[in-house]
């Protein structure tokens, strides 16, 4: 995305596009303690957090799901940026953000709803989460729902571990899962 294009003209257009409510998704890439995160926000709320962004691929995916008017714009992402920074600095335990999970399939949405109730510093298991959705044998489906969680960190799939206490897997890599659990004091 390097360009000699005048940045004042560029930023002015991006801000106007967002201010006029013309975007399906506004996104920005945030530099954080756990590496760059691509964050997408629709007019319904935060809809996407990508670890290890590859903007070209990620933008295509956002456009397929939410509509083609996907544009980098920092203002709509400001609130998410602030809360993520606070959380990663250990100064925030609960996110106060609207979330957009419109396009998540029904069962996965129920799983994410239960996941959202797993508090800061706690952990749960795939089986326990499956039981909360009324389907104790659906641990594998819960695993899939975690794997496809569009909003990791804020929807805290890092708090879900194996029945034997092992960290199992994480879309952002096990290092990051460990980092987040350590940050929250869930592991030492």
């Amino acid at each position: 995305m390097t360009s000699t294009f005048p940045s004042t003209i560029d930023e002015r257009f991006r801000a106007a596009a967002a201010a006029e409510g013309l975007l399906d998704v506004a996104f920005d890439v945030l530099e954080t303690d756990i590496g760059p995160l691509l964050v997408g926000v629709s007019d319904h709320g935060l809809c996407r957090i990508h670890f290890d962004p590859e903007p070209e691929r990620d933008i295509e995916e956002l456009a397929r799901t939410y509509g083609p008017r996907v544009l980098r714009a920092s203002k709509p992402v400001d609130r998410v940026r602030i809360e993520l920074d606070e959380y990663l600095a250990g100064k925030r335990r609960v996110f106060d953000l609207d979330l957009d999970v419109r396009f998540v399939p029904e069962y996965h949405r129920r799983v994410l709803h239960e996941l959202a109730r797993v508090g800061y510093g706690e952990t749960t298991t795939y089986g326990a989460l499956a039981a909360k959705t009324g389907n104790p044998r659906a641990a594998r489906a819960v695993g899939t729902a975690m794997n496809r969680n569009p909003i990791p960190i804020v929807l805290p799939c890092h708090r879900v571990v194996g029945a034997n206490g092992s960290l199992t897997g994480y879309g952002g890599g096990l290092d990051r899962k460990e980092h987040l659990l350590r940050l929250e004091g869930a592991i030492l």
């Binding site: 360009s3 933008i59 083609p68 980098r72």
Partner: protein, 152 residues
């Protein structure tokens, strides 16, 4: 199969330099900045109604040309320009656009930019990513095709 509409970010990054250069040539640097924003906002408003991602470059440059015309009108003190016909009797875009619906995209763009917007062939060549003489040929081929259609 039709080319899918790319994400707006991709479209914008691909064409912003050229649109700004084009507007700069027509309006000067100062006024080009406002026109640039108007052009891409207008494109963005129409973007989710596009059915395919072909000829996006000609499309956005056509929008830019139109913004140039509008900016020219705003500059006139009385602002009493007739809506559909320009001063020299050439039909403006609103009148020309439906007539040219059936033309191949390149010929259509050349005809509209030449006779609707009164651009020079050199500028049309720029807008379409070809040359002055190719633009001249596309416009005259378009006009010939329109005449033939009218006779039928």
């Amino acid at each position: 199969m039709a080319v899918a509409v790319p994400p707006f970010e991709t479209f914008y990054e691909a064409h912003r330099d050229e649109v700004l250069r084009f507007l700069g040539r027509r309006l000067g640097r100062q006024r080009a900045e406002d026109a640039f924003q108007d052009t891409f906002l207008r494109a963005l408003r129409a973007y989710d109604r596009l059915e395919h991602g072909e000829h996006l470059r000609a499309w956005v440059l056509t929008i830019a040309s139109r913004i140039v015309i509008d900016a020219g009108r705003r500059q006139r003190p009385q602002g009493e320009m007739p809506e559909l016909v320009t001063e020299d009797g050439r039909p403006a875009f609103e009148e020309l656009a439906p007539l040219t619906d059936g033309l191949p995209p390149k010929e259509r763009a050349a005809v509209v930019l030449r006779y609707g917007y009164d651009l020079e062939y050199e500028e049309i060549g720029d807008a379409l990513g070809s040359t002055e003489s190719a633009a001249r040929q596309a416009a005259s081929a378009g006009v010939r095709r329109l005449r033939k259609e009218q006779q039928q």
